[in-house]
């Protein structure tokens, strides 16, 4: 589903990613771990073209991304198949929860409004928020907002989901709500790449753990092998 081959990214003269190669099989969960500044988020953002890279190749959900500037058309095609959930949620504050979820299907995929709404309500149900369909993001808790953001991303029926530290801005209680949703998705066979500091989650859900240190793949393998048996 995802092939990353010899990827290198350079920002202000520093190689912040170097010779990164990894493979993500369909229906599996890969977690990216490692110290801050190791390049986890940059790697994730290269996968859907939010950032460019200097060397190497990415193949994702059947689309190819090459080094240098991407064409807007190509990026739009990639992003329709690749969803992303951000650390800061980035819900659209001027829209209700349900409108956040239905906006992209309607204007990008051309789904008729009633159909989009029906599916959107189903997704909110799935993340446990059908009661809050008409609520504005500002009236929701952080955990609720992140779950709406996941529903918003799922509404595009992505083949791959990217999570950029989805629980780092949340307290443990709210983290648990969000992680339960993500684990549920993983059990349903959703292919995903998750940047996280939460080794507990990695042990619980990850098929593969990739540790990035100073822009390079330090270790990669099954969770038990990389993170050890016991929790911290």
């Amino acid at each position: 589903m995802i092939e990353v081959d010899s990827l290198a990214a350079i920002r202000s003269g520093n190689r912040i990613l170097d010779a990164v190669t990894l493979t993500v099989a369909e229906g599996t969960v890969t977690t990216l771990v490692g110290p801050s500044g190791g390049g986890k988020s940059t790697l994730l953002r290269c996968l859907n073209g939010l950032e460019t890279f200097a060397e190497g190749r990415v193949t994702i959900a059947g689309h190819k991304l090459v080094a240098g500037e991407h064409l807007p058309r190509a990026l739009e095609r990639v992003r329709r198949d690749v969803g992303m959930v951000f650390q800061g949620f980035n819900l659209f504050p001027h829209l209700s929860a349900i409108d956040n979820v239905t906006l992209a299907p309607r204007i990008v995929r051309g789904v008729p409004a009633p159909e989009a709404r029906r599916r959107g309500l189903g997704l909110l149900e799935r993340v446990g928020l059908s009661r809050f369909a008409e609520a504005r993001p500002a009236t929701l808790s952080g955990g609720q907002q992140q779950r709406v953001a996941i529903a918003r991303s799922l509404a595009m029926e992505p083949r791959v989901m990217l999570f950029d530290e989805p629980t780092s801005a949340l307290d443990p209680q709210m983290s648990a709500e969000v992680l339960d949703v993500i684990v549920e998705l993983a059990r349903g066979g959703q292919t995903m790449v998750v940047v996280t500091h939460d080794h507990g989650f990695a042990r619980r859900a990850a098929t593969q753990v990739v540790e990035l240190v100073a822009g390079r793949v330090h270790r990669a393998g099954p969770a038990a092998e990389i993170l050890g048996g016991a929790g911290h």
């Binding site: 859907n48 939010l50 807007p72 990026l75 739009e76 992003r79 329709r80 690749v82 969803g83 992303m84 951000f86 800061g88 980035n90 819900l91 659209f92 504050p93 001027h94 829209l95 209700s96 409108d99 239905t102 906006l103 992209a104 309607r106 204007i107 990008v108 008409e134 504005r136 918003r152 991303s153 595009m156």
Partner: protein, 510 residues
């Protein structure tokens, strides 16, 4: 202190004389300069509008720093009769009398004798006789005054007049004519507009028409001059002795033929002129009407002009927002080659006065064959001027939307323009609502500048009415109340719009 003493000692006889005069008549309010002060200062300050043009007072085309005109020479002759020098004071024509007692001793600028003026100012004996002359293009179907009684090929005839002049009073009085009267601040502007086919004709004093005949070869006088009158010198009512001295001096210039010699030099001394001058008797006194009469008479006119103020605001502001938002989006997200042009557009419109932009639209475009009606030019000018400010506000608003919003929209597969339309712009609009609302009220008041291109809105109507009736304070209060009565509902309207926008976005993201 010391230099003043020395000067006093140096001209003791004159100083003593002045002291005697001062004792004889202490000025009542101390504002207006009486005869003694004029003599002491050695200067007679006379006010006129050099923009009004020849033959009265105009800039010498050979020496642009010099003023010439028959009134310039008359002022010098009068000053010489009083034993002082003449000093010129510039003012806008329809506001010249307001300078009396402050910046000027007298006004000499083709002010026609009217009962209203005689009531509010001291008017000298007449110094010049004029008639009104209709001027049209040579190729116009307008061939006589009587033709004005029937509509022209494009509806009512559009006739330009100098605002506040006898020509305007005459045209507005003639309800039997099929004319639309358009007020201007200068007679040359009127002639330009006739040449540019914006106006069908202009009614002006015959001496101005013949003075400009060579410069406007495409125009010709229509019918004979009619409805004449005389010019008078205005002085403040608080300076009776100065007024009398000027009047006496003028009498001497008439009786000993020096005025006729002056008019001979300027080719203005027809027999009719001299007869009218000799016969023109005293101006009949007029009574001051009651306040109720004044308001009854003025209110309908003020209300109609208030309607124009509203029309200008509500027509131009949505246009300003539309252009401004487009410019802002173009500068932030448009192609790189376009951005310098948009920045130039904003700097040009922000860096030059609105008045100048209106002049360019109204007076310069006809020269390249695009004659806009005044109201269209006014709406367009206001919209363009304000679009520069709106674009800066929207640019700031767009930048204030967090970067994550754009990324989230893109990550969902939206194009740049879809992200702008559905995510960034709706949020920016909400952020900038307060400054945009206050800009609307600013524009509402800025509409008064449009009087420069003949659109009569509330402020202009006020100044014309105040000048012709002399009830400056009373009408100012009525006008201010009208402005408040309009701006209050306007701010309510903007607030309602603000709320509606909030609700709309809750329901419908599109």
């Amino acid at each position: 202190m010391t230099p003043a003493r020395q000067r006093e000692r140096g001209c003791r006889p004159l100083w003593l004389l002045a002291a005697v005069w001062l004792l004889a008549a202490v000025p009542v309010d101390g504002l207006a300069a009486e005869l003694d002060e004029v003599l002491a200062r050695g200067e007679l300050v006379w006010a006129a509008d050099q923009e009004g043009g020849g033959p009265h007072v105009y800039v010498d085309p050979e020496h642009p720093t010099r003023l010439i005109g028959f009134e310039v020479e008359l002022a010098e002759m009068l000053a010489a009769e009083l034993g002082v020098k003449a000093r010129f004071q510039q003012g806008q024509w329809d506001r010249l009398p307001l300078l009396l007692g402050r910046a000027a001793d007298c006004v000499i600028n083709g002010f026609e004798s009217t009962p209203e003026r005689a009531r509010d100012w001291h008017c000298s004996r007449p110094y010049f006789a004029y008639s009104l002359q209709l001027v049209a293009r040579r190729d116009s179907s307008l061939d006589s005054l009587d033709a004005l009684a029937k509509e022209g090929p494009r509806g009512p005839w559009r006739v330009g007049v100098l605002t506040g002049s006898a020509a305007e009073i005459e045209m507005r009085r003639r309800t039997d004519l099929q004319v639309e009267v358009v007020g201007f601040d200068g007679t040359v502007d009127c002639l330009e507009q006739v040449r540019g086919r914006v106006l069908d004709a202009v009614l002006m004093d015959d001496c101005i028409a013949s003075f400009n005949a060579d410069r406007f070869g495409e125009l010709r006088g229509v019918g004979r001059p009619f409805a004449g009158g005389t010019y008078t010198i205005l002085t403040a009512p608080e300076t009776p002795r100065l007024s009398a001295a000027i009047d006496d001096a003028l009498g001497r210039l008439i009786t000993d033929g020096r005025l006729k010699a002056l008019y001979d030099r300027w080719d203005l001394a027809g027999r009719q002129q001299m007869l009218l001058l000799r016969d023109a008797a005293e101006v009949p006194p007029a009574r001051r009407g009651s306040l109720a009469d004044l308001i009854r008479g003025a209110l309908p006119l003020l209300l109609r002009s208030a309607g124009m103020t509203i029309l200008l605001s509500v027509a131009s502001f949505p246009l300003a927002i539309l252009i401004g938002l487009s410019v802002a989006v173009g500068r932030l997200h448009g192609p790189a080659w376009l951005r310098p042009f948009l920045a130039g557009y904003v700097e040009l419109l922000r860096g030059t006065p609105l008045m100048l932009q209106l002049y360019a639209l109204f007076f310069l475009l006809p020269k390249v064959g695009l004659a806009l009606p005044a109201i269209v030019a006014a709406i367009l000018g206001l919209a363009m001027n304000y679009s520069a400010y709106e674009s800066e506000i929207y640019r700031a608003g767009l930048k204030a939307v967090p970067a994550g919003q754009f990324e989230a929209a893109l990550a969902l597969g939206m194009t740049k323009w879809q992200s702008l339309r559905h995510v960034l712009v709706p949020q920016a609009v909400r952020i900038v609502m307060p400054p945009v609302t206050s800009d609307f009220i600013a524009l509402f008041k800025d509409t008064s500048v449009c009087s420069a291109i003949t659109v009569i809105e509330l402020t202009k109507r006020y100044s014309v009415l105040a000048l012709s009736t002399g009830r400056i304070a009373e009408l100012a209060i009525v006008t201010a109340l009208l402005y408040l009565a309009m701006s209050w509902p306007l701010s309510l309207l903007s607030r309602w719009f603000e709320r509606r926008l909030e609700r709309r976005s809750e329901r419908d993201p599109g």
